[in-house]
Each structure stands twice: as C-alpha cells, then as structure tokens.
Amino acid sequence: MPRLHVLVWLGIVCLPLGAAQATAADLPPLRYGADAEGGAPYIFLDPANPSRTQGFEVDLAAALATELGREINFSQKNYENLVLYLERGEVDFVMNGLEVTADRVERLRMSRPYYVYTLQLVGRAGETRFVTLDQLQTLGLTVGTLNETAASRLLKQRGISVAEYDSQAEPYLDLALGRVDAVLLDLPIAEYYARPNPRLQFLGEPLAPGHYALAFRKSDEALAAQFDAALLKLAQRGELERIYRKWNIWNDDQLQLADPNLQPLVAGASSQAMTFTRYLPLLLDGAQMTILLSVCSMALAVLIGLVVAVMRLYGPLPLKFLAVTYVEFFRGIPVLLLLYVLYFGISPIIFRLLGVSLGEWERILVGIVAFGLNYAAYEAEIYRAGISSIPQGQWEAAASLGMNKATTFRRIILPQTWRVVLPPMTNDFVALFKDTSIVSVIAVVELTKQYQMLAKSSMKYVEIGLATAVLYLLMSVPLGYLSRWLEKRLGKE
C-alpha cells in the first residue's frame, strides 16, 4: 500500500524497535519487511520526524520484540515484492497488512491473525445514489481500490468496474475529485484517510471480514510458532486492544483474536492455477496499453520536440529563451513528479473548466501528456543537434535554386535530419516503452504493472517474467529493424 506522501525514496531504514532482553541476546535481530512509503496507518514515516517510522504495526512489532525478548528490526522493502524478499531470505517475516489468502497459505507459513479487517465503502459527502455494492453494480459506477487486495478481488467477482491504484492515498484523492464514484478499502485505511476528510463519507456497514497475519517461510515453522504464541498472549493481555485503540482501529470484531482456537479466515478461493493461457491474455492487454502510451507519447514528443528545436535554432531571442527553459525544465524534473502534478493538480482544473469527464481515459491522457512533455525535451536536443549537423551549403544550394527558408527546411534539411536522428530517437522510443510503467501510480495498468500483479498473485515471478520480457522484446526489436531500414531508405551517406 505504498507510495505518495513521501516522494523521497527511503532506502533501507533499520530501526531497533524493542529493547531486547538478555535472554536472547545471542540470537541475531530479526528483520521484518514492510513498505513505509505512504502506508498509514500500518507503517509510515512520522511527518514530524521523517527518519522515524510509526503505525500500529510498528507498535505491534515493538510489543512482539518485548514479548519474545528478541530484537526486531524494520527493513524497508517495496510492497509489490515483499513476499519475494521473504523467500530470498532478506527478511525473516513480513508484516504489512497481508491478508490470509488461499495462495499465501499454500506457499507461506501464515501466522495467527493479528487483526480482523473489514472492507469499508466510502463515497463523496452527500452521496445519495448508492450505499451498497449491488447498487454500485446496477448503476455501472467505478470503484477505486488497491490492486491485488481482498477489496479488488471482491469488486471483480461482483463484476463492478474497478480502478486499481498502487497506493492508498490516491483512490481517495480521485474520489474527492470525482474521478471514481466510490472507494472500497480495508477499514484501517478508510479510518486514516477518509474519516477526517469532510468531503468524503462512510457508506453502509463494513463488509467481508478477513484476517491480517504475519508471513514466514514454510521452513521457519519453529519461529512462526513462537510468534503465534506471542500474538495470542498479546491479545489475551489486552495489549493488542491498547495498540489498536491508540490508532482508532479497535472494534468488537477484534475480540475473537483472544480465542486460542481461532481459525484463520481465508479470503479468495485459491487463484485457479495461473496457467499460460490464463495470464497471456492479461499480459497482452497490458502490452496493448504500453504500446498505446508509448506510441502516442512519442508522437507528441516528436511534435513538441521539433517545434522547440526550431524555436531554439531560428526563433527570435524570447522564443530561444523559452525553448531553452522548456528543455531544462522538463529534462530536469522526474516524470513521476510531473504525473502527480498533472493528474492531481492541473488536470482536474482543466476538466472542470471544460465541463467534460473522460473517465479512465483521463488517466491515460495525462500519462501520454506527461511522457510527451518529458521526452519532447530530449527529442528537442536531438533534433537541434541533427539539424545543425546538416552543412550550411545545403541551405545555400537550396537558396540559390530559389527555395525559401521554410521550403528548404521542410524538403531539404528535415529529411536529412531524420536520417541523423533516427538512431538516438529509436533509443528513446525503446526507453519510453519501459519508462511508461511509471503510469501505474495513477492507476493505469500497462505491461510491467500487469506483470507485477500477476506474478504477485501467482508467485510465478520467473515464468511470467520471461513471458513479459518476450513481449517487451517483441515490441523493441522490430523497432530497431524498422529504424535501420528507414535509415537506409533515407540514404546513408
């Protein structure tokens, strides 16, 4: 549930959580993996002191450390790949709102539940059209949620149109902006992000309860058993209640956590074995989106880049200055930042003024514009160099034949420039195919995102990874051939 809030990447932050007592002093500290990037209220950076993490899971880790008499250190890991880091042995367990699912039970050693989550539907303040999922489905409205969560699975099962996000703040932002009609997410998230927002309101009762549990490697049965016992003791002693009350996520559902015979609620039927024929169509959908984004962005970049290059080379001084500023600005800022500013800052204003709504196409459009603007800065520099490399004599020869500047540029200079700039342009185009994966932050699912989602749910990281790589190559290799063929056709000197 990472991202936003803190655009600074954390690296790996290790904080000693519990004062380990002497008994286990010989044992090395345990490492647990979680993503603190925008992960409130689970684990997130203290706004007052961003070098510190906080959250109810941070408190729980501290309590467990005390209970077990063993130091437990937090290790920052990307949410998408938490399970991978666990399997690779980089962390000893994962605690980050992982739901107990059939797939996880099959593959990992899931602990006793430490929290009973429910899903909470949230709408805009004053929403009167619906309070239930059934009504949403009948009305054909779109619901935002996090990808690969119990909520997203539930929505898909009900056949409700879903916008899947990478992190938990954005769905509520888009809800307030009117881009989705409702958000369905785990209650703790709704409590933290939606409850304090006067523009949003809770709709109906919490639904579809499930369990969060710690994930261990299957081979670490003994360690997992220690944690099971410790969790039960914390629940029975009221320690869990104390922590959850502090974070305002305590409710009567949690009483069952003190029951020694509590059976975990397994969410989601085991994803039917994710076979090639099942995931390929999804990957192809992703590839289609990647192609759409890349081709449109590149077309935009070529257009803007050419204009900027011509302004810089031949424009009067103010235009030259403008062109230089454009290049420096858009080359200098990260696309991620541009995406956020465009999507959450500028685009809502523009669409409100225009009085139109594009639905999910707004996200795609914003992605295309962001990459178009960014890559135009690179293209502009390539074209400037390419145009300058055409000998002055070509201009003179054309002038002596009576051609004016515009005709000369269009008919003589530009065709020769294409030949020069094709190889660097091809480079950029191929890079763009891969760079576009960043648009997943505004809930556009392209090939890389689709891969992450499929791999995470099926755990077939290598197999689906290879299929994804083949798809990327199928896109980029022909491009290289096309470029070389064009280069030849345009007459290599």
């Binding site: 003179e396 034949l401 009576g402």
Partner: protein, 245 residues
C-alpha cells in the same frame, strides 16, 4: 545589354575589406572568367551577385533587379531565379536521386506539375550526359557526374546564367574535362556564365572576358588575349607567372 552590373561594391568582414569598391559590367550571353590569387575576393563577388552574401556599400544590378546592402528577401529570390549557382563541393541533396535533385526546385518553387518536371529533368540529365544515372543517389556518382547533375539542377530553373564557384577544383584532372566541356556547350546556348576558376586553359579557350581580382579590387579586365597574353598590371603578371609556372 549587361546581365550583371556592379556599382562600387564594398564588402567587409570586421576590419578586413574583402571587396573594395568593385565596379564591373558583365554583358548578357558572355562568359566571364574571374581569376586571381586566393583570398582576392572572387568567391565573395560571386556570392554577392546572387544574394547569398550581403555587402556593405554599393549596388548590383542583375537584370532589372537591384541588390543593395539591405535587400529584401523578394529581390534576392528574384535574382536567384535569374542566376543558378554551382558550388565547388556540389551540394547535391543526398536524400534525393539525381532526377529528384533536378526536379525539386521546379516542383517546389515553380509549382510545375510532376510529370512535366520529370520530363524536363530527364531531358536536362540527358543533356549533361547522365540519362543513365537518373535513378542514382549522389553517393553512387563520381565527382564529375555529381557536378554535371548540379549543373542540370541549376538549369532546371531556366536561369539566364550560371555562377560557377571553382566548380572543377574538387575533381581529378580527367573528370575536369567533362565538366568544362559541359560548360562550353552551355556557353554556345547563349547563357551568361560567370566562372571563378584556376583553369587558365579554360579561361583562355572559353571566356569572352577575363577579370583579375586581387586584394578586393578588379585590377585588370579585358579579353583573354589581352589579359592573359599581355597583362598590363604588375600584380597580374606576377600571378600569371605563378599559376603558369
């Protein structure tokens, strides 16, 4: 009638004076060879005549048009339509075939229909002896062939004359002949040719008038017999001794 008349043309680059009060009349239909030591202003003079280079004082009549230090774009382009220019380094358009090189300006500037432009281009290429090379790209042609395509390209605009800037300097001796022969044929067609050259043989054989430029001035002007065989100015004598030695 004069095709080109220069009136007190002066051109400076910073402190250096490239053309120093040059006045010269070039009669229509004649071939004038511009000779003289390197850096004497020959190429600059040529470039001033079709407006590729501006000058600081004086004026140049080309037909009924007058080029001035601040000439409008329209005048420059009208002048360029009257005189084609051939460059030492050809400057063919590398992305176009020989035929397309010749067709380009008639299509873009004269807006000729494609079929007509193609027919005319084929005729011109045949005239310079390159009918067989029409579909070759410049990189597939020898230097002499390239220069003949360049001549055909200039002729496609139906100019009254050609400005030739050391057009054989980049060529091997055996290739020079084919280009110079082509020029001589054009001369007999009544075109005005202004030729910057180091080929004294060509100047003697083909030029009606020879002008000697040194240090930005025309120091001697007259028929080849007079200027080349019996130069009056000491500077000319010295120059001729050097090139003929």
């Amino acid at each position: 009638m004069n095709a080109v008349t220069l009136h007190h043309v002066t051109k400076r680059y910073g402190a250096r004076t490239i053309l120093d009060d040059v006045s010269l009349a070039i009669p229509a239909g004649q071939t004038v060879a511009l000779i003289g030591p390197s850096g004497g202003g020959k190429s600059t003079l040529l470039r001033c005549i079709n407006g590729l280079t501006t000058f600081d004082a004086g004026g140049i009549h080309v037909g009924q048009h007058l080029l001035m230090p601040r000439t409008s774009r329209e005048t420059a382009s009208a002048v360029r339509r009257m005189f084609g220019m051939i460059f030492q380094d050809f400057q063919l358009f590398p992305h176009l075939t020989a035929l397309e090189n010749v067709m380009e300006a008639p299509l873009q500037v004269l807006k000729q229909p494609r079929a007509a432009a193609r027919e005319e281009a084929q005729r011109l290429l045949a005239r310079v002896g390159l009918a067989e090379r029409a579909d070759h790209y410049p990189r597939q042609l020898s230097g002499g062939q390239k220069q003949r395509v360049a001549i055909a390209r200039a002729l496609a605009m139906k100019p009254q004359g050609l400005l030739c800037d050391e057009i054989t300097s980049a060529l091997d001796p055996e290739l020079k002949c084919e280009v110079l022969d082509t020029l001589q044929e054009l001369r007999s067609d009544g075109l005005t040719l202004i030729v910057v050259t180091h080929e004294m043989g060509f100047a003697r054989r083909a030029a009606d008038q020879v002008a000697v430029l040194a240090d930005g001035r025309v120091i001697e002007y007259g028929s080849p017999d007079k200027v080349l065989e019996n130069p009056q100015v000491e500077r000319t004598q010295k120059f001729l001794r050097q090139v003929l030695a």
